[in-house]
Structure formats: structure tokens, C-alpha cells
Chain length 449, copies 2
Amino acid sequence: MQTSSTQKPHVVIIGGGFGGLAAARQLRRANLRVTLVDRNNYHLFQPLLYQVATGGLSPSNIASPLRYILRKQANCEVLLAEVVDIDVDRQSVLFSDGQLDYDFLITAAGATHSYFGRDEWESNAPGLKTIEQALDIRRRIYSAFEAAERQSNPELRKALLTFVIVGGGPTGVELSGALAEIARHTLKHDFRHINPEDARIIIVEAAEHVLAHYPPDLCERAAEKIRSRGIEILTHTKVTEVTDEHVKLSGTDGETLLATHTVLWAAGVQANSLGKTIAGKCGVEVDRAGRVPVTQQLSVGSYENVFVIGDLANCPDASGKPLPGLAPVAIQQGEYVARLIEDKVSGRLSKKPFEYKDRGTMATIGRSAAVALVGTKKFCGFFAWTLWLAIHLFQILLFENRMLILIQWIWGYLTYHRSSRIITGGHQPALTKQSGTVPKAPVTANSPS
Amino acid sequence: MQTSSTQKPHVVIIGGGFGGLAAARQLRRANLRVTLVDRNNYHLFQPLLYQVATGGLSPSNIASPLRYILRKQANCEVLLAEVVDIDVDRQSVLFSDGQLDYDFLITAAGATHSYFGRDEWESNAPGLKTIEQALDIRRRIYSAFEAAERQSNPELRKALLTFVIVGGGPTGVELSGALAEIARHTLKHDFRHINPEDARIIIVEAAEHVLAHYPPDLCERAAEKIRSRGIEILTHTKVTEVTDEHVKLSGTDGETLLATHTVLWAAGVQANSLGKTIAGKCGVEVDRAGRVPVTQQLSVGSYENVFVIGDLANCPDASGKPLPGLAPVAIQQGEYVARLIEDKVSGRLSKKPFEYKDRGTMATIGRSAAVALVGTKKFCGFFAWTLWLAIHLFQILLFENRMLILIQWIWGYLTYHRSSRIITGGHQPALTKQSGTVPKAPVTANSPS
């Protein structure tokens, strides 16, 4: 260890997601000390989290240990800790049991779901941002089929086989596509008293289209493909109530009550509360989604050594609209800030503002279908899907995980089997909970079949 | 569906482990109805559970959905439920929300750990029987290194890097071997303030030898190999206290106190409480480990249609000693009972008693070393290890899982990396818990390095 290392400027990065990790790696040759702080010991590849939630992949296939990724970067250390406060004047990050002084701070703490002020819905409608949530969703999905198999009351059985996905953005569409495949193919031969194909899968979307960020004609083609898989799409529809037995929907035809035991939340984004902390300290105000408005150089207010990037930042594009919460945005911002800090430290003062290079966006609908928008080129179908697979596989950091994912994808494509469809985390909690809400019914195996 | 199916005799199997599953599969062509009841939706390949607990494999690699395994067996259905009672006179299995009548009952509910009457130790010394426990152990192991990295007090750091494994049977030896590999190789380059190689790994065994079921000379050779990996073995030593800060050991030299935050329990076996229920109903008494004494035909007392197999049964071998709780015993018993039931149903009365064919036993010590006993042939070393790998891989039920495990084994062998070393299940609970027991220390990243 170098004794002079304390003299080197210290860069603290909060968050080991796409933005934070890109910044840390970009600084690998810099004459600086870097500390990457995360409350998890891994970098999560969120674009494939829905595959964990639907049993197609194991959590560790898409979670790479941060220490392992950065083990050879001598100027960088990883700290597993949760930040509780930031003191921008004393230049210090505070934990419950210590503190860490910085010369430069990069905050990339990401975002979570927004329940639009109805946080009480969360227990019945989990979102999909963490591995724990993905496993919770997996447990709910497969437990619902199990409970339906045991349920002899047709009404209650129908409710157990009704899956409501709130939000028709990429996550909602991906979840519904995977659910359709589970019901129509994966579980086809598995049950004796229910037909999994009877499952209803419903996307509820407040806007006019699903995948509303894409051009309208592409949305329409995607919606057709989604419907062709037996998924119902309710647009112009809002959720007004969520319980463990139903959701209340408010659409163009008025209010309807839908009996369901499985509601998945894929709507609304709320920046990490650290955004509000930083904004307050720096004398700026967060936007409605809790994001911190940043300067053209991604710093906050008058604090030129405090940066906010990724989903936590409100960074306007050329037209003044905030950039979307996408991995490429976070990565480019992380790299930009890292270069800016290197310049500052070596006395090269750069005034170049951050500029996002949009190389295209894509979303998958399920087996053999995806939409992609590259410049003005639009794709919808098999080609877009193979492109999606290749790009996502390529972005997986560790070679081993790439191999494991590839095998599971190939095998899943050939057999429809999902390698990770186990119910874990306590003994069938969702099932117990659900049977608690229904009248005691005899075990169906006992009734004449 | 056949309307006559209710007329066919009904076999209920409790437990989808090695014994129960073997029975169900053996009955695949029988003119019977079969219901396999398990509280999990998967068959767990327990011999590799320690690899999940040490981050080498993902849970679903060794957990195969029971429905998927049995999907093509038309006479069999799977029920996800927890048995609460059994009525042997009315021939009925009871759940919290229903019941299931049987003509033949095969109970294969397995065993869990015994804390020798000190159940309060469990929270600080988890055992390794379920996926949830494996993930708990994984979290404790990797969190301990994380906490040590943040700990500046050398005494407390040492305690965090001390791992105590209670029990020197196969599970204890396997865990210690994997832990040694993690400390000496996997984490080698990952930390900046600790040297993971400083970790102390200690096996505590009450008997004279580790792997005491093997012949003494093989035990000795195994112990040498274990010690050569830097693992300490304390034989003739008992644990007399377990807290979240230390264990108290009582050995030939008297009592010693060992500061440690990670204690893993691999000692003692206690049969599932269903054993006691059945024994009571059938008028027999369980043994000290809670196992049900069975007849030569594996039935219980005078109830010729109630069978107990696997870890739950006390079935004497030719010398009168109970057969060990091994997968091959359970599998052979499951197949035997299934054939016996088929015979009874078709009117062929067989009086042949169950006889266990011992094809050999083996245990792995870690990378490139295992012990094996095949007949009178003894193996200890690399050959036994490759045999161990091949046999275990071959026994994995699903082809896909076999491929996934093989890749992770090869990759792990070449790189020492463990693909699944992520800390999941809440935010660093072990770390938080541990930091709660130590005085507030400054984050080490802040101290001069």
C-alpha cells in the first residue's frame, strides 16, 4: 500500500449500477483514489431482472460481485454500506457507523417504483427493481398456479389465474410476455385440475399506448403482437384500488372490479431519496419524480464537485425534456463525469457539456418478438428479438454468466422449460396467504376427477 | 380424465426427496393413483447444497420442480401442501385446509438438524438442510468478510474472520473445504484492508475423527488433507455455548472461548416431527433421533399400508445398526416400497424383506480431494474427487441443470471464481447485526492506508 495515497484526491461514487460502475471503470488509470459505495455486494443487470422474476434465470446470473469486477483496479476500493446523509460543505458521506470524506462525489443511487402516493399498495403489488422483489414476484406467480390447482371453487380459481400488470412500459410488456409463455407452454403438462392456459394476463396502462416511448405505429405493431399471445391490453385505464383479492380499474367505460390475487407493479418511477437529500444541501429542488436537476456538466447547484447521474438525475436533452432512465444514459453520464474529474485534477479545465448519444432503444415482447428503434429505423419482430438477445448477452459483464445465460436461453427456447421456476423464501407464503382469503375448500385431489 | 380413477387404489407419498420421488417414479406404470405431497415445489439435490451455501452454484441448479419431473406420469399428481396430521385408522392425511384419503401411505419427510436440546443456538448457528438455510449461510459467510474489511479493531476483525463449523461429518468437511478455497483463492484480490487468507476455519468434532463413518486410516488421510488446506480440526471437542460473538468449547484441555461471528451447524440429525405423529398413531416409539422403527417391509407397527422410508425411518441393517441417512438408502427404500405396493394391489403377496445394497459412500474435502469407500476399496485424493464429481453430476435429474453445474464447476476450477457469491435477502442483515455488536468504528476507507 502506498503511504502517499491519502494525498491523492478521493472520488466517492454512491451506487454500483450502470452509471456508478461506468464512472469507476473509466477512472481506472486516473491518479486518484476511488471508493465505490453500494448497499449490495453486486452490480445488477436490471434489463434481465424480469427473467429472474419469471423463473428463466437465476439471480446470480445477472448479478456480478462488484469486488470481483473491480479486483484488479488498484486505485479503487468497494465499500458495502448504506449512505444515510451527505454533508456537501464538509465534503463527507455519512453512514450509520462512520463517514467517508471526498474531494469529488458522484451520486448514482438510482430509482425505485412510485405508487403515486399509494404506498400501501406495495404489499399486494410488488415492483421489480431488486433481486428480492424479483424472487417475491416469482414466488407469487408460481404459487398462484399451485393455489389454483387446489381450489375447487371456479370463481376463486379464476381469480387465482388472473394476473394484472400495472404499467405498459418495457418492464410491464416483458413481464406479460413471459407470463403468457409460462401459462401457455412452460406449465402445459404440469397440472391435473387446472389448465394453465386459462390464465388471464392483463396489462393496465393509463396512456394511449403500451410502450408509449416508441413512435405510434411501432406501438401499434407491438400491441398486435402482444395481443396475439393472448394478453389483454387495457389502455386509458388507471388503477384506483389494490387489495389482496382484487383491483379496481377506472377506464373510459367507468369503474370495473377485477378479482385477482397477483398484481405486478411496473408503473411510475421515483428517484432514490438521496436525491432529495443532495438537492436540499445544494440549494436546488427535485422534480416531481424526485430527480435532482443537474447542470450541463452534471453537477448540482454551485457545487462543482458534486455530481448526480443516471436515474437520479434530471438532465435535459437538446429539446429540454429530461433524458429517460435508461442504462446507456447512465453509462455515458458516468464516463463523462469520470473524464471531467480527471481533467479537473490534472488542471485541464473542460467546459464541454454532457451530450447523450442515442444509439437506439429496444424492448422485448417475449419469444421471437421485440421492438427496436435505431435512429429513424424501426424494427418489430424476430430480427429485433435476435438483436435484443445479442446486445443484452454482450453487455453481461462476466464471461461465465454469459455462458450460463446463453445455455438457459437456448434450452428455454427449445423446450419452453424455465430452469429457475422454484418457489423459495419461506414455505409457500403466497399460497398460505391466498388460502387464508378463500373459504376452506377440500383438497381437490380428493374430489372425483 | 378417467372416471374410474377414483376406484383405483390411492398411494399418497409425503415428501419429494430422494425416497419419495423414487417411490413415485417406480410406480409410473402401476394401475394406481399416486399423489406426491411436498411443502416445496421442487426436489432438492441435497448433496450439493453446500455449494449453494458457499456461492458455487445457484439454488435452482440443484432444485428441480417436482411437477416438471413428473409431468408425463399420468397416474401421478403433485400437491404443494404441508401435512399437519395423519389419521391411520381413517386412512387420511390432514392439511390445514383439507384432507386426502389414502389406501397406502409412504412417509418420506426427511430430517433436520438437532441442536441437542439447545434450539436457541439455531439463530447463531444455522444448519444446512434447505435452500433458505443455504442462502442464509451464504449471506453470513460473505457478509463476515465485508464486515471485517470495514472493521479497524484488530481483535474484532479477527473474530469476524473466524469461522467455526460444528460437526466433522461430510457436510462439515465439505463446508470447511469450500470456505478454505473462498478465503485462500476466491477472494484473494478483492479486499484492500484485510487479507482473506487470514481467515481461521475450524472444525469442531465431538468424536475421535472427522468423517467418523469411514475406516480410521481413511479418516486420518482425510484429516491430513483437510489440515493441509489450513483448516484446523478440533476432535474430542464439544460446543457448550453459542452466541453471536463467540462459541465456548469443551475439549480435552478444558473450556476455551473462541471469538467468532460465523458458526455453521453440521452436527446432529433430528427426524421430521411427522415421525413422532405416525409412531404415536401406530403404537410404536421413535428412537432418540426421532426416527420411526419400521418392520422388515418398512411398514409401521401393525399397519401394513403405512410405510416410513429414508431419514425418517430407523431401519436396521444385518448387524442390527440403523442404516445411515444417505440418499441411496432412501432411494432403494422408495423403490422397494413401491414394488411391494404394486405386488399387494395385484394380489402377489411378497414376504421379501428390504435389503440395502451398499454400492459405496463418498465425501468431498474440496478442490481435487475426496474420500470414497467402495466395498473394501478405499480412495483418498484426486481420483476419488473426479469420481465424486462424475457420480454427483450424473445423478442430477435435469439435463439443463447438469450443463449449468458442469460449466460452473469447470469455470470455478480454472478461475477459483464462485459464480453465485452474492449477498441477497434483505440489505446486509448479518453485517448490520454484526456491526451492532461491535463498538462504532470509523469506516476504514477513511483511515490512512
